[in-house]
Symmetry: C4
Subunit: 251 residues, 4 copies
C-alpha cells in the first residue's frame, strides 16, 4: 500500500549541506510565495533533489506541455550559494484536508531535520482586498528574538489588524517548527489577493535576499510586475469606461 | 510522525492534586464558556501547566501581538483554591471534524483521569436567537443525582424546548465522562448567540462560583457586560433610526 | 484511547438466542423505519440488551427530559416471541461520514453474526415527493430467492423508477450482509418524505408482522397516523386559503 | 473488521495472462469511459473475474431490476483476444473522498501488477461545455515515448487550453502507474459534458481499438449515438421554438 506521504530524494543528492536554510514557497494568496521561490530557483539555477507525493494532494494528474501527465507533487530544490546551501520547497498544491496540512508540514520538517536546516523562511501573500501599489512585506516569526533582524531588512510587524493568522504550510512551518526547535520566519507580501501578484513577490524577494545574504537579480520579476500592472490598469479602465457608458444611457 | 493529539505538561507541574475539579471553557456560542474560564484564570491568577495540540485544530498559526506565530492549541491552567485544585481547560478552537471532537474529548478525559478529577464543569452559551437582558443559566448533567445541588445554585433545567443537545466538547465531556465514571455538569448561559456575551458569562460565573465554593470577584466581567450592553444598544438605535429614515422616504 | 466504534452488552444478556431475526429501524426518510422499530419495541415490551457508540455519530450529547445528557447511540433490544427471538437495532442517528456508514454497518453485522442472526429486516421510507394516502410497501432483498415470500406479504418490487438505491445502513445491511452470507430484506414505506410519517410506518408494520409471524397490535400507530393526517390536512387548507386570499388581492 | 478496500477474484480465474492490457472505464464526464469499456465488454463477451468493494464508495446499495440490492462496486472483466488478454476495470462509482481516490487507484495498480499488466489505457471524457459534432480524442500519457504511437491512432495532444488535468482514477492511474513502472495512456473523448455521450464514446472506441489491435464492431454504439443526437436535436428545437414564442409575445 502506498504511504500517505512519500518523500523521494534523487540518487545523486548529497545530504551533507552547509548551514542550510529552507525556503518554502507553496501556492497561496496571490501565488506570492510560489512566485518568489520559483523565481529564485530559476535565476539561481537551483537543481531538483527531491519530490513529495501525498494522498492529501488533489486526486488528479497535471498534464504538462508535452502531453505527459504527472501526479501533483511538492518539490525540493537545492542551490549552493557562496556561504550556504538554500533548500527550496515548492509545489503544485497544498493539502485538500485540514489534517493533511498538519501531516504534510510534519513531513516537511522531517526533511528540514534530516538536512540539518536551522532556519526556515516561508513566503506568502497578505491579502488586503484592494489594489496595492507599493506592497509592504509583513513578517511573523516563531521566536521573538528574530524580530529585530527581520525588521532591519525592511519587513514590518505592524499589521493593521493585529491577531491574525497564517493559513496552511506557510504558517504551520512556524508553529510546528518551533516544537522541533527550528527557527522560522514568514514573509508576506501585501497583495490584493485578486490576481497573481509579481509586484508583491518582488517586495518579498528584496527582503528575503537581504535576510539570507544571497543576491538575486530582480529584473525579470520587476518586468513581470510591470506587465501585470498594465494588465490591471487596462482592466480598471475598461471597467471605468463601461461604467461611464452605462451612466450615459441613463443621463 | 506527529501524534494526532499531543498533551505536554510543564516540567514543574506536580500532578498530585487535592480534590481537583476540571472546568472546561472552550470556544462556542457567544464565547460564553471561554469568557468565564479565561476570566477566572485571570482573576485567580491560575498558572499554565500544560498544552494540547492536535491535527484536528484548524491548520494555521495565530500571530500574537508581538509578531510571534504559534500553533492553535488548548491549554491547561491550575489554581490552588483554599479547599481544592481547579484545573482549567481553555483554548483557541475546537475540532474542525466530527470524529476529532470525540478524539479530543477523549484526550481531555485522559487528562482528567491522570489528574484524579472526580467532577467536571463545562461552560457554554445557550443560544436563543434574541437579545436577553437577564440571562438564565441552564444546566445539564451526566448523573441525575447531581441535579438538586445544581438547582440550588440558581441553575434551571427547564429549557423552553425540551430534547435539545449540546454540541462539541462541552457536551461530549458529559457523555463520554459518564462512560469513565466522572461526574460532569454543563452550565449554559442564555445568550442571543449574535455577539460575544459577557453578560451571559457573568451569570454563569455566579452559578459556578457558588457550586465550586470558590469566590471570584465578578466586577470586571460586569463592567465588560455593561460596555457590551451599550454597544448593542447603540447598534439597535442606529438600526431603528435607519428604519425610520427609510419609512420617511416612503411616507 | 476510545474505540472508533464500541459495542457494549448488558451484563445480564444471554446471547444464546432461538432462531433470531434482526430488525433494523434507524433514522431515515420520514423516520419510517425508526417509527416501526420503536413502536414494536414499545408494544412488545422488548428489553434493552446493548448499546453502540461511535465517533462517526454527531459530536454532541442529547439532553433527556430529566436534564441528563447522554451520548448519541444506537441500541439493541431483545424480544422473545412465541417462536423466535427478535433483535431490534434502533438509534438516534446514523453515521455523519460516508466511510463511517460502512464501518458502523460492519459492526452491526458483527453483532448479527455473534448472535446467530440468519435473517435481517431493515425498515425505511421510500420518498416520492408528494403526499401519499395509501402507502405501498416496496421491497428489496439480497437474495433473489426471498422475493416470492416477501411479495406474499403484500410487498411490491415494482418501483416506478427502476435502478434506484437505498442509502445508509438500511441498504448496506443488505449489501454487506450478503458478503457474510446473511439473508436481508429491506421494507420501505412509501412516504412524501416531508414529514414524520406514521401512516407509512403502519403499512410497513403490517407487512413485517406477517413476514416474521409476530402479531403486533397496530392501533396506536394507526391513531398516530390519523392525527398526523389531520395535521397535514390543516396545513394544506391553510396553504389553500392563503393562496385564495392572495388571488383575491389581485382579482 | 472489513478492509477499507477489498479485491475478490472469482475462484475459476486463472491469473496467468498473456501480454495483458488494463482498460479502465470508470464513471466520469459524459460517462464516456464507462460507455466504451462496458460496450467492449458486451461486444467481446468478456467475462467477469473479480470485484472491488471499498468504504470510499457511496454508502448505499444499488437495486437491480430483479429487486436484488447489491453494494456499489468496481468490477474486473477478462477477454482473451487473438493476441493478448484484455483486463477491463469498470464500476458504479469512483471514490467519494479525495484520499480514497489515491487509495483505490493504488488497489487498481496492485491488481495490474499481480496480473502482469505492462500497459494501462484509461478512458474518459474531455468536457468542453458546448455541443460537439465530430468529437476529437485527446491523449495523455505517463511516458513521452508513447506519444507517437498514440498520435498514429488519430489521437491529438493539442488541447486548446494547455496545462489541464485529469481528475480521479483515469488520471491517477497514469501518475501512480508511472511510479510503479507501468506505461499508461488516457484517451479522452471530446464531449459537451451535459449528457451521456455515446458519440464521444464511439470516437474513443475507434482510437482504442486501433491502439490495442483488437477490432470491436462499433455499429451498436454508433446507433446509440445517432439516437442521442436526435434527442439533443429535439431539445434544441424545443428551446428555440420556446425562445421564438417568447419573442412573439414581446414583438
Amino acid at each position: 500500500m502506498i504511504d500517505d506521504i512519500s518523500i523521494r530524494y534523487c540518487d545523486t543528492f548529497d545530504k551533507a549541506l552547509t548551514d542550510p536554510i529552507l525556503i518554502g514557497g507553496l501556492p497561496g494568496i496571490g501565488q506570492v510565495g510560489k512566485l518568489v521561490a520559483e523565481y529564485m530557483i530559476h535565476m539561481l539555477g537551483a537543481e531538483k533533489v527531491g519530490e513529495i507525493h501525498a494522498i492529501y494532494l488533489p486526486p488528479q494528474v497535471i498534464i504538462e506541455e508535452n502531453g505527459v501527465a504527472r501526479l501533483p507533487r511538492n518539490e525540493i530544490y537545492l542551490y549552493k550559494a557562496a556561504n550556504r546551501h538554500l533548500v527550496f520547497l515548492v509545489g503544485d498544491f497544498q493539502s485538500t484536508s485540514n489534517e493533511g496540512h498538519y501531516l504534510m508540514t510534519d513531513a516537511y520538517l522531517d526533511i528540514a531535520v534530516e538536512l540539518g536546516v536551522k532556519r526556515i523562511y516561508t513566503l506568502g501573500g497578505f491579502g488586503v482586498g484592494h489594489l496595492v501599489y507599493t506592497p509592504r512585506v509583513f513578517g511573523a516569526t516563531n521566536r521573538v528574538e528574530l524580530k529585530a533582524e527581520i525588521m532591519d531588512a525592511g519587513v514590518t510587524f505592524d499589521r493593521d489588524e493585529p491577531g491574525g493568522g497564517i493559513l496552511g504550510a506557510a504558517g504551520l512551518l512556524l508553529g510546528m517548527g518551533s516544537m522541533r526547535g527550528i527557527d522560522a520566519i514568514c514573509l508576506m507580501g501585501e497583495t490584493s489577493g485578486y490576481v497573481v501578484d509579481p509586484m508583491s513577490a518582488a517586495s518579498v524577494l528584496t527582503a528575503l535576499s537581504k535576510l539570507i545574504a544571497v543576491p538575486v537579480d530582480p529584473t525579470q520579476l520587476n518586468d513581470r510586475a510591470a506587465e501585470m500592472e498594465k494588465v490591471v490598469q487596462r482592466l480598471l479602465e475598461n471597467a471605468q469606461s463601461q461604467h461611464d457608458e452605462e451612466l450615459s444611457y441613463i443621463g
